[in-house]
Symmetry: C3
Subunit: 159 residues, 3 copies
Amino acid sequence: MDDKKLAIIATKGSLDWAYPPFILASTAAALGYETQIFFTFYGLQLLKKKLALAVTPIGNPGMPMPMGMDKWFPVLGMTLPGMQGMVTSMMKQKMKSKGVASIEELRDLCVEADVKLIACQMTVDLFDMERTEFIDGLEYAGAAAFFEFAGESDICLYI
Amino acid sequence: MDDKKLAIIATKGSLDWAYPPFILASTAAALGYETQIFFTFYGLQLLKKKLALAVTPIGNPGMPMPMGMDKWFPVLGMTLPGMQGMVTSMMKQKMKSKGVASIEELRDLCVEADVKLIACQMTVDLFDMERTEFIDGLEYAGAAAFFEFAGESDICLYI
Amino acid sequence: MDDKKLAIIATKGSLDWAYPPFILASTAAALGYETQIFFTFYGLQLLKKKLALAVTPIGNPGMPMPMGMDKWFPVLGMTLPGMQGMVTSMMKQKMKSKGVASIEELRDLCVEADVKLIACQMTVDLFDMERTEFIDGLEYAGAAAFFEFAGESDICLYI
């Protein structure tokens, strides 16, 4: 299967949606896929040296809340100061206790497996970001360049 | 067109985002596509025997609110206790009045049309779910197994 | 590359998620791709003559807030009346100051580049919308018709 190609467009920047691109990319790479991820819009947050990803249960009605928290804190409670940090921290602990790698570890795994990580230059400019904020080894390119690979891919996912 | 293949990764667990995977899968199956849906992350909620899906207008600015509710209840009002249940109930009534099948019915339709429904075993373990919570006839597998089908698919959608 | 095909299913109706389908479609069209966008669910909002798209920072923890607003207004503050309009307006100004085209302009660009825009007839009926609300030149069709193109596409994205 070593001629297969996976192209991912990663657009989300929250903690929960940070897992899918890295898990799918590292799994595909392990299966012999040539894999590229194009990080654009909020997805650029996943490339920062210092990750500051959070998760909010608001707007996430399918999220199984740990310990039945949804019964104690209905939607209004979720807007209280500190609640987002608390839920984020609980999710990280949950992942760790279950042996799921952290986002940093999954990202390293992708780099080691030769997954090509591409930052969308237009978004970098748009949000006045600096290349020094991001991890080393990235490519910076536009959507047009990414289409060259995506157009030849066997699977192309917009996440 | 009976050699075509559709692969869907279903990751969302809210009422509104429960429709697309089942509608697209049943439509494709009716057109002769071999179809598989891989349910992972919050998407596993769609496989429960007792569905408890809700929809929230928060974080959903494109949602056309029934009866101009958005004018009466701006964002703060949407956080009031009971509001999510009310909006969920209104959406279900709307769908029913328009003759749209319920999620349960659409899911049954997929099963009858031989759409293969696969639950992500890693997520099941992560959230301490039991197989008895889910409908019968599912396959349990990991992302690697799903790639075998997805890599050969004509269309692969991440929902 | 002029035989390539890009199929997009546009399902989101907020201001931020309005950019990806139009940017990706116009980029692909410029590269010679035959491109079709199928607007369904909340995505139909993107086809209205009078766009009323908003963006909410709630449920969007990866959104880099302009001017550090997230430090002044934590989640609860974001629910205050007027806040969504303020953030929407700031995003529009940001885009404009950076020379990014508006959604209307990007949409026009797609039309001029012969991107085929298709409105999901089922959703139009479901939300009791009128064809007069939408821009001219649209096609109205169902998911089954869209699969004919998507099944032959090189890239198919669910946005």
